[in-house]
């Protein structure tokens, strides 16, 4: 309404604001770097870290897909675990190929998510969070109780490897899987379906008054989110060939939530940036790794206080700070005259 607001949303005539090529070119450099990384750097370890980052990006972005419908589940790593264990067990005991286990585990995980999502569609806010939290913990107990079939406390070993253990092949497989998943989730959010979910998040009463079957849409969001969580988990199972229940416990869910929150929950790019920074940074500063939970808490506080939109909002903040400074200089110059 006010002029003030309009001018902040559209950075008017600042020199930086007009550099439209900046964003695509930064993105192009980044894509080229990621695509060519194996050629530049033969370290298996670095490729390993990037593969993990890809897997967690799929998981974090799919968690955000559920949150745009106004639901905040605290069981997303458990759904990754369901996908991982389904694929792992199908591979170990039935001898299925990864090309069969990965998609089918994702589909079954989506089905389980929707089944669980059905009664949960009546819960809201804290009740939803608590309910899903206990479900997530329950999943881990089922794995424990699975004995030899699921590997129990000791973990599941002997899962068929992907692409013959080749690190480079795996790198490109997971890069491709991530790109395809992100495109699929992007389309989901920025179609009328995503708009409807966002409408429900803002007011479920108003949404249902215009004929939106609110419960069904919320279940749909959970199904899509869980499909990609299951996909990420199943991919992880075949990449790692060993599964431990601890990888999918409540702490793992909290990390996914942190990736989303620190990156920025209001933007599609948010969880991608959040995951990249929180997974990659501790790896490149190994000394800090021990303290990473504390650092994440500090980072979260910094983000909340300084960048309410998450790390995604950082360029905009820098830009407006820069243009303010230029404006300030100009005024100083004029008044000095």
């Amino acid at each position: 309404m006010s002029d003030n607001q309009l001018s902040t949303s559209k950075p008017s005539n600042s020199a930086i604001g007009s550099r439209k090529w900046l964003k695509p070119s930064v993105l192009a450099v980044l894509v080229a770097f990621i695509a060519l990384l194996p050629a530049m750097h033969h370290s298996n370890y670095i490729m390993h870290i990037f593969i993990l980052t890809f897997i967690y990006i799929i998981a974090a972005v799919s968690l955000r897909t559920i949150t745009i419908s106004g639901q905040f589940p605290l069981a997303h790593a458990a759904f990754m675990g369901i996908g991982a264990y389904l694929a792992g067990m199908a591979s170990k005991w039935l001898g299925w190929s990864p090309w069969v286990t990965i998609p089918s585990a994702a589909i079954v995980t989506a089905g389980i998510g929707m089944l669980i999502g059905y009664p949960f569609a009546r819960l809201r806010a804290l009740y939803y969070a608590m309910g899903s939290l206990f479900f997530g913990i329950g999943v881990i107990y089922i794995v424990y109780a699975g004995g030899i079939w699921s590997g129990g406390y000791a973990g599941l070993t002997g899962i068929g490897p992907m692409l013959g253990f080749s690190r480079i092949a795996n790198y490109y497989f997971f890069l491709g899987l991530t790109v395809v998943s992100l495109l699929a989730l992007y389309r989901f959010e920025f179609s009328r379906i995503g708009t409807t979910l966002k409408a429900i998040a803002q007011s479920h009463l108003v949404a249902s008054s215009v004929g939106i079957n609110e419960a069904w849409y919320r279940i749909l969001a959970v199904g899509v989110g869980c499909f990609f969580a299951g996909l990420a988990g199943a991919g992880y199972a075949h990449y790692n060939t060993v599964l431990s229940p601890a990888s999918f416990n409540f702490m793992a869910t909290l990390w996914l939530v942190m990736y989303v929150l620190i990156g920025g929950i209001d933007s599609f790019a948010g969880p991608i940036i959040g995951t990249s920074i929180l997974v990659l940074l501790p790896e490149f500063a190994r000394d800090l790794k021990t303290y990473s939970p504390f650092l994440s808490a500090v980072l979260l506080l910094v983000v909340v206080y300084l960048m309410p939109q998450g790390l995604v909002g950082l360029p905009r903040i820098i830009r407006s700070w820069y243009s303010e400074r230029r404006k300030g200089k100009k005024i100083a110059h004029v008044s000095g005259n």
Binding site: R192, I193, A199, V206, S209, V210, I212
Partner: protein, 253 residues
């Protein structure tokens, strides 16, 4: 009869919010539902639209029983409604509020939406054009790109009505459309409601503000969850029960 409510009762624990309430609405009418604060008017709307479950009674709309239908099913039957508070999607623009409300007419399939089929794109074009029509009708086309939460109160109420029109309602339930508006806005809104009625929508309007009576073909007065009077606006105005409900015993001459 277009809408018929029979013996509607709603108890919240020990409190009877609506008690053995009967009411009917004929096609094409504007019916005012008035009564003091806490009389049960909004509860009645919530019962009709399935937002809260009724304890006893029956609701028939257009010859179909809608007694235990869910809110989205009621909307699908052709009943649109507005809300007294938070009547909109706050973080959407005015335009998005209306276009997102076009969920039923036309309706695209999920796969059609996802794969961006030609039918879906055609539907979306139609929706944008229709939304603009509706915004022009309620006079909000000039602010269509503003965020809904930044609009002044009167505009937000109008947007609530615009949103409800996107359902293409045969019956429109308006919950305090002119409450808290200034005289100009009231004039504008009342004209808008009249226009919508002439275009074929039957309207039930809950109000507090007695001015709404100028618009109504018939008025039903409710107090403590019970009907205390019914009739033409001028009949109701002179009714002693009504005066007592609003102003207390000492004002009854």
């Amino acid at each position: 009869m277009f809408l018929e409510i029979k013996g509607l009762t709603k108890r919240f624990g020990g409190l009877t919010a609506v008690n053995q309430f009967d009411m009917h609405v004929n096609k094409g009418e504007i019916v005012g539902l008035i009564g003091p604060n806490g009389a049960g008017k909004t509860t009645l709307f919530n019962l009709i639209t399935g937002v809260i479950k009724l304890t006893k009674g029956q609701i028939i709309f257009d010859d179909k029983d809608i007694t235990r239908k869910k809110p989205h099913q009621v909307a699908q039957m052709g009943i649109g409604r507005t809300f007294q508070l938070n009547p909109l999607f706050a973080d959407f623009t005015v335009m998005q509020n209306v276009s997102a409300s076009f969920h039923l007419h036309p309706r695209s399939s999920l796969l059609g939406i996802y794969f961006n089929t030609r039918t879906y794109r055609k539907n979306e074009d139609y929706i944008l054009q229709q939304s603009l029509e509706i915004l022009k009708l309620v006079g909000l086309d000039k602010v269509k790109d503003e965020l809904a939460k930044n609009l002044p109160h009167g505009y937000q109420k109008m947007l609530g009505i615009a949103r409800a029109l996107a359902v293409k309602p045969k019956l429109l339930l308006l919950d305090e459309p002119i409450a808290g508006m200034n005289p100009d806005e009231i004039e504008f809104t009342m004209t808008g409601i009249g226009k919508t009625n002439k275009q074929g929508a039957t309207i039930v309007v809950v109000e507090h503000n007695m001015r709404i009576m100028d618009l109504c073909d018939r008025v039903v007065v409710i107090n403590f969850g019970q009907k205390i009077a019914e009739g033409l606006p001028k009949e109701v105005r002179g009714n002693k029960e009504v005066t007592r409900a609003y102003f207390g015993d000492e004002h009854v001459a």
